[in-house]
């Protein structure tokens, strides 16, 4: 009887331990498709028994998860909006941002497109639909196919703010689920134009545009000379604790930032 009781107690502790080592992370596809999974793998190798539940469905879902309390870390490639911060406050939550990496939003075109540089004005014209043919921006001609992220994406709203003066995307633009899908479509379509995080510029068949002479690179993003740079965040409910604290500290540690650079993002230091 005593043995049986001890077994039950032991199993109970094991179960509780296993639950405590599970970290739920939701949010940005930009961060969650490549970077955070690789950080998680490295972290797990250093913390055996830790499990991760990562859902990368857009920054809006990550911030909402912090407001709702359904994740410990919300990945976001944009800042929380005032309405989101207000909603969190109403629920007694405190949206705390921590910069975990920088990113440059790269404007990509098909590799066969002869254009190498665009001005910021031209980028605005292309993505708002003011310009619909490549010949209007010095290209060889052909109807521009604009690919954007979907509306829950932080990159979607960041690009509007950084590159489009907050104007609406062209009505004919096609909304893609993630960076990889945009890169794939632009790589297939000779008249395609899109934007992706820096980590996704190595896709086949695409070419990165320089903007007013500046190309997205670690240096140009860190010194903010590339116009479409942005910080990316982990959002937590106030100061994180426990496993979330450990994972955040790991992310911004030299080891974590090394992975940041390897994946194609820009380290914070």
């Amino acid at each position: 009887m005593k043995t049986k009781l001890a077994t039950i107690i032991a199993l109970t502790f094991v179960s509780a331990e296993a639950h405590a080592d599970r970290l739920v992370i939701k949010g940005s596809d930009t961060l969650g498709a490549k970077l955070v999974p690789q950080l998680a793998e490295q972290f797990k190798s250093q913390h055996p028994g830790t499990t991760f539940d990562i859902a990368a469905e857009g920054s809006t879902t990550g911030i909402a998860a912090i407001i709702d309390g359904t994740a410990e870390i919300g990945m976001s490639s944009r800042r929380a909006k005032s309405s989101e911060v207000g909603a969190a406050s109403a629920k007694g939550r405190n949206m705390k941002p921590t910069i975990v990496a920088y990113d440059g939003i790269a404007v990509i075109v098909n590799a066969k497109n002869p254009i190498k540089n665009l001005t910021r004005k031209q980028v605005e014209q292309i993505f708002t639909g003011d310009v619909t043919d490549w010949s209007a921006v010095g290209g060889a001609g052909g109807k521009i196919s604009v690919y954007t992220r979907n509306t829950s994406s932080g990159t979607y709203s960041d690009f509007k703010e950084l590159a489009m003066k907050k104007r609406d995307y062209a009505g004919s633009s096609q909304k893609m689920a993630g960076n990889e899908q945009i890169a794939a479509e632009v790589g297939r379509n000779p008249n395609g134009a899109g934007y992706v995080g820096m980590a996704y510029t190595k896709a086949g068949g695409v070419k990165v545009m320089s903007i007013d002479g500046a190309t997205p690179s670690i240096k140009s993003v860190q010194d903010h000379s590339y116009p479409y740079w942005r910080p990316t965040f982990y959002y937590t409910n106030g100061e994180p604790s426990g496993l979330a604290r450990q994972f955040l500290d790991f992310t911004i540690s030299p080891g974590g930032q090394k992975i940041v650079a390897q994946v194609g993002f820009v380290p914070i230091k």
């Binding site: 207000g86 406050s89 910069i99 104007r167």
Partner: protein, 521 residues
């Protein structure tokens, strides 16, 4: 951490001490970016401060307003007015002669009304991304020519909602304006909807309460000219600045500057919608009662919409020393008839009983092709603004309009004119303004459905004087007194126009007085 706390304190004091929260937070963002650029704080510290500010803003009243992204500017505005109003109209001394009784006005008998009223207008107007704009305004009263609600006039049990003292049956909220527009083309404004009047007008032609419905295209371009004056060549005079000798330039005199605003306004207003345009079976006929004296009995009721078209071109000349002059010649044309205004205008008849005279058509828009020319000249006497203003209008089809009304010899009753003078202005606290004018409107000169009903009860074939004096009790509160007195112009004709306050036609003499306390916000 100390740096961040310091920055937060400074920003909080600077941005929440006053002003609009969301706008101030944007300013704070620019300042934070600058502090990061100067390496005074790190990106992370800036983000933490930004998050704190965003949190603070989100808990303020302004921060709780959520506006859609395309809105770039939004303005809430309106006014509330309390009014005492007196209207009085006197019957004629000719026919019909008889003792006052049902349907028969007596001789020189005054009908008078006194009312205490209020008016509320609440509007929102804003600009949108890509040069679009919009506006809405809610107003009390469904009348096109008034926003007034009379206290205590819905106490009857038959009033909407059952009546009773302090009932709400007449306190409705109506859409006074709902319009959208585009300003994306240089110097051009395009507007559609129920809009503020886009034309330069006067009270003689248009009641300012009317918000016409349809389309408007406005063009305005400013030309600046400078004649003479300026600086001379280097003059042989010297002075010392910072220990160095410099040449002091000498002006030969102030150049003469002339600014000319040239404008053109075009409007296509839907005056009356015919419903349906194509009815089942045979179209309805003009009934005998509606068109009895107009020879229209039995005619088919028109099945086309009625439109009011306006073409206006003009210019405002602004000279040095606040002197200006503006003129805006306009043509108004009516097309179609609609199903409401197709009966020929008659305007009343002094040879009939009062009720029969009132029963004549007062609203017809047949044979109206009106040329109008409002003008204004202004200058300053010391610091006091002064102005002369006026209007002249002529109906180029008055002969036909008079003939259709049964007075073929009265085609000369085609003119309307106004001339007045004003002094002062009402902009800020303690400002004052006085306007005095004379106005004359012939029976067949104007559209009786548009003229200001405050003046002569909205009637034609009247002339008289008006005076208005106002004082600004504060920047937002105006107290004003207005009075006008009018006489019938041609004793052989009625005073056409739908009775607004006084149920007499012809009105032989008329007077109107109001005391207004108006709060603008």
């Amino acid at each position: 951490m100390l740096t961040k706390r310091f920055v937060l304190i400074v920003l909080a004091a600077a941005f929440f001490g006053g002003g609009t929260g969301s706008i101030r937070a944007q300013d704070a963002g620019a300042l934070l970016d600058l502090l990061v650029k100067k390496k005074i704080i790190t990106d992370q510290e800036a983000e933490e401060v930004r998050a704190e500010l965003t949190k603070e803003v989100s808990t303020t009243s302004a921060g709780k307003w959520k506006l859609s992204t395309p809105i770039t500017e939004l303005e809430l505005y309106g006014d509330i007015r309390l009014r005492y109003q007196y209207n009085g109209g006197r019957t004629a001394d000719g026919t019909p002669v008889g003792a006052p009784g049902p349907g028969v006005a007596g001789v020189h008998d005054w009908q008078e009304r006194e009312r205490e009223r209020y008016r509320l207008r609440l509007g929102l107007r804003g600009t949108l991304a890509d040069d679009w704009f919009f506006g809405i305004r809610l107003e009390t009263s469904a009348s096109e020519r008034s926003g007034n609600v009379t206290f205590g006039d819905d106490s009857s049990p038959s009033s909407p909602g059952g009546g009773g003292p302090f009932a709400k049956g007449n306190d409705g909220i109506n859409v006074g304006q709902a319009y959208l527009g585009y300003k994306g083309f240089k110097d051009i404004t395009l507007t559609g909807g129920k809009m503020p009047n886009p034309l330069v007008t006067t009270l003689m032609l248009w009641d300012p309460d009317i918000n016409p419905e349809g389309l408007a295209e406005q063009w305005k371009h400013t030309f600046n000219f400078t004649f003479g004056g300026g600086e001379s060549e280097a003059a042989p005079t010297y002075s010392k600045e910072g220990g160095k000798e410099v040449v002091a330039k000498q002006a030969t005199g102030e150049p003469f500057k002339l600014k000319i605003d040239v404008f053109a306004n075009f409007a296509q207003f839907v005056y009356d919608d015919s419903n349906p345009e194509n009815p089942l079976g045979q179209r309805a006929l003009v009934s005998s009662s509606a068109g009895s004296a107009t020879q229209q009995n039995g005619q088919l009721i028109p099945h086309t919409d009625a439109f009011l078209l306006a073409w206006q071109v003009g210019a405002r000349f602004t000279f040095p020393k606040n002197i200006y002059a503006q003129i805006a010649p306009t043509i108004y044309n009516y097309t179609g008839n609609g199903d409401t205004f197709n009966i020929h205008y008659q305007g009343g008849d002094p040879t009939l009983t009062n009720s029969a005279s009132l029963a004549q058509n007062q609203t017809g828009i047949n044979s109206l092709l009106v040329f109008d020319m409002p003008w204004e000249i202004g200058w300053k006497l010391g610091e006091i603004p002064m102005r002369l203003f006026g209007d002249f209008a002529v109906n180029l089809e008055a002969d036909d309009r008079a003939a259709a009304a049964g007075h073929p010899g009265k085609g000369d009753q085609r003119y309307a004119y106004q001339i007045g003078a004003g002094i002062g202005q009402l902009k800020v606290k303690h400002d004052w303004q006085i306007d005095v004018w004379y106005q004359h409107s012939d029976q067949y000169a104007l559209d009786p459905n548009l003229v200001d009903d405050d003046i002569f009860d909205g009637r034609l074939n009247m002339h008289g004087i008006g005076v208005r004096a106002g004082y600004a009790l504060s920047d937002a509160v105006i107290f004003s007194l207005s009075y006008n007195y009018g006489w019938r112009a041609d004793d052989a004709l009625g005073t056409g126009g739908t009775p607004i306050a006084i149920g007499i036609n012809p009105i032989d003499q008329y007077q109107w007085f109001v005391a207004d306390l108006n709060i603008r916000f």
